[in-house]
């Protein structure tokens, strides 16, 4: 092992208790930083999982205003649109309100065709399409409630009154880690039929249209064409990419997200101040040693390397431990949060940022003491001993 490395490692663990406490502080701060960033990421998961070949068309007034079913045929005729499906937010309650998860009444065949990332076996897909009372759910949701194929899932309607019972016909696995596996889909036709019988005027309306397009770069043009189609009608549309649509939900809670992000950075700044204090204390205690090294002929750069290296060693150790701890912490958090966050995973970027934050903390904490020690007067420093 190179002499310098050996010296800085020995220095780093010279005061074991102090180093241990600094490490604990670093691990706690950087784990919290990682967890908070993962929460923010989870908020944006819907945006991340969006496809660039899907557009969402909704009422230009508000999402709560439905669009006529009759638009479906006209949408199919819009140049650049190759698939059309639709969905209604159901908002049902499974046993209690605490069991919240997203449910959508959809047109099964066209909807599943637009979402190839929902991996269903052909057998389950067909079973779902054929059964008007059938439903499919994501793996995460099925696991949470222990549902198996053939189970009956009762939902108490809030927007659509009554108790609705669905037969589970399929469980999809996400094609990627970011694919949402916490939703439930069932037949829009079943809901619409019931509405027609009970409240005739509420039938034949859809919440949003989902449009498949061939070329992602044509999204703005196709969106304009769609909206132009329904301009000056009773139900004008607002068409946007799926990611923009998802982002509009995220923006509603943007203030909270900004606060969460700010807190995550503040935590890093606090630990930076704590570590800077530790390194300053360390440097002051070793004043005579640095003066001795300089007397022996070592330049200011050597002193800087020693202090900076020691600080970075401790910070990197803290960063690695924090990354290792964030993974089980995030898993426990995801378990506790249930389906609140459809995707809750510590991303490689977050882990990278944790390590980068650790290195920044290490470098900044040592910067001032290292500079100061590199400038010490040898005679004054040696007097520190005597």
């Amino acid at each position: 092992m190179p002499f310098l490395l050996k010296l800085l490692l020995k220095n780093a663990f010279r005061h074991r208790l102090r180093t241990l406490l600094t490490l604990v502080g670093l691990v706690v701060a950087l784990s919290a930083f990682g967890l908070l960033r993962t929460i923010v990421d989870a908020w944006y998961a819907g945006v991340e999982a969006s496809s660039s070949t899907r557009l969402v068309s909704r009422s230009a007034i508000s999402l709560t205003f439905p669009l006529p079913l009759a638009y479906a045929q006209r949408l199919k005729a819009v140049e650049g649109v190759n698939r059309v499906s639709w969905a209604n937010w159901f908002g049902g309650i499974y046993i209690t309100e605490r069991n919240f998860f997203p449910q959508f009444a959809v047109e099964p065949a066209s909807y599943l065709a637009l979402y190839p990332e929902y991996r269903l076996s052909d057998e389950q897909r067909l079973a779902f399409i054929r059964d008007r009372q059938g439903a499919v759910v994501g793996r995460k949701l099925a696991d949470k409630f222990g549902w198996k194929i053939g189970d009956q899932i009762p939902l108490r309607g809030t927007i659509y009154p009554g108790t609705w019972s669905f037969t589970l016909r399929g469980i999809w696995d996400g094609a990627e880690a970011k694919t949402d596996e916490s939703q439930m889909l069932f037949h829009w036709g079943l809901i619409n039929e019931s509405l027609r019988k009970r409240y005739g005027n509420r039938a034949d309306f859809v919440g949003v249209y989902v449009l498949g397009i061939e070329e992602p770069q044509q999204a703005p043009l196709v969106s304009q064409r769609v909206d132009a189609q329904f301009k000056n009608s009773l139900a004008e549309t607002l068409t946007e990419t799926e990611s923009a649509f998802q982002l509009s939900f995220v923006s509603m809670s943007e203030a909270i997200l900004v606060a969460v992000q700010a807190v995550s950075y503040i935590i890093v700044i606090i630990i930076m101040a704590v570590m800077a204090n530790t390194m300053s204390m360390t440097a002051r205690e070793r004043l005579a040693e640095y003066a001795t090294l300089k007397a022996l002929g070592f330049g200011p750069g050597f002193v800087v390397k020693l202090l900076l290296g020691e600080s970075l060693t401790i910070a990197l150790a803290g960063g690695l431990l924090a990354v290792a701890l964030t993974l089980p912490m995030a898993a426990a958090f995801a378990q506790a949060a249930g389906t609140l966050f459809p995707v809750f995973q510590v991303s490689p970027l977050t882990m990278g940022l944790q390590l980068a934050a650790a290195l920044v903390v290490g470098a900044v904490a040592a910067a001032w003491p290292a500079w100061k020690m590199s400038r010490i007067d040898i005679v004054q420093g040696l007097r520190h001993v005597g």
């Binding site: 040693e289 001795t292 007397a295 022996l296 002929g297 070592f298 200011p300 040696l382 001993v385």
Partner: protein
């Protein structure tokens, strides 16, 4: 006096420290020559400027005026980096409180100055072992400073001062922190280095008995050199 050029040539050297608006003179117009191979003791009361003179000779302080030529190099004109390089190559330090790195073993402490040379790790180790043998610490190489007595620590410091084979060894109160017997052992060692290896040693001491071991005695009083005290034979 020898006809050879002195190893240390000090000419009209003055040093003053600034405190607020006031200059406090510590050394006044000091001129001195030290030949290679001499063992010089600098004595004087506290505040006489002996440690300041030693620091200037060692190149860890800068004079206010005057010249210090050591081995033909006017070190007062060197920049910080060049002076550090010069110290690494030419000066071995022995401090009153040993100033060893507590996290390094005796061997590693002695090896430390050799990091500034182009020696390989193996060569450094061999040199450090040889230096420790010279101070009779072969059996304490892997001991940390806190596992050694004061005398042993000072011997490690002497080995560290020797290991890069400097032309000059400066010792600031090398026995000041040691008991009488251990102090004698350290002085024996310094005397031996001077006589056997011909090392030039400049030592600051308060102790007349320690000074008596030197071959030349220089007194300083209030920053002024008192003429050489006779008694010690010339080298």
């Amino acid at each position: 006096m020898s006809d050879k050029a002195p190893l240390i040539h000090i000419e009209a050297l003055s040093k003053a420290y600034r405190r607020g608006q006031q200059d406090i003179p510590v050394l006044l117009d000091v001129s001195l020559d030290v030949q290679a191979g001499e063992f010089v003791a600098l004595m004087g009361p506290s505040g006489s400027g002996k440690s300041t003179l030693l620091n200037l000779i060692a190149g860890i302080d800068q004079p206010s005026s005057g010249r210090i030529v050591i081995g033909g190099v006017d070190i007062a004109t060197l920049g910080e980096g060049a002076l550090a390089d010069w110290r690494a190559a030419q000066v071995g330090f022995i401090f009153q409180f040993y100033n060893l790195m507590p996290v390094l073993t005796a061997l590693e402490n002695v090896e430390l100055p050799l990091l500034l040379t182009g020696l390989s790790a193996r060569e450094r180790r061999l040199h450090a072992e040889a230096a420790l043998s010279l101070v009779r610490l072969d059996d304490r190489m892997d001991h940390f400073p806190n596992e050694l007595s004061g005398g042993q620590q000072q011997r490690v410091a002497i080995a560290r001062a020797l290991v890069s084979d400097p032309s000059l060894i400066v010792a600031d109160e090398p026995t000041g922190d040691l008991d009488r017997v251990t102090g004698q052992e350290v002085l024996d060692l310094l005397e031996d280095l001077n006589r056997r290896l011909g090392k030039t040693i400049v030592m600051v001491t308060h102790d007349p008995k320690a000074a008596a071991r030197a071959r030349r005695l220089i007194h300083l009083e209030k920053g002024v050199l008192v003429p050489d005290v006779a008694g010690a034979p010339a080298p």
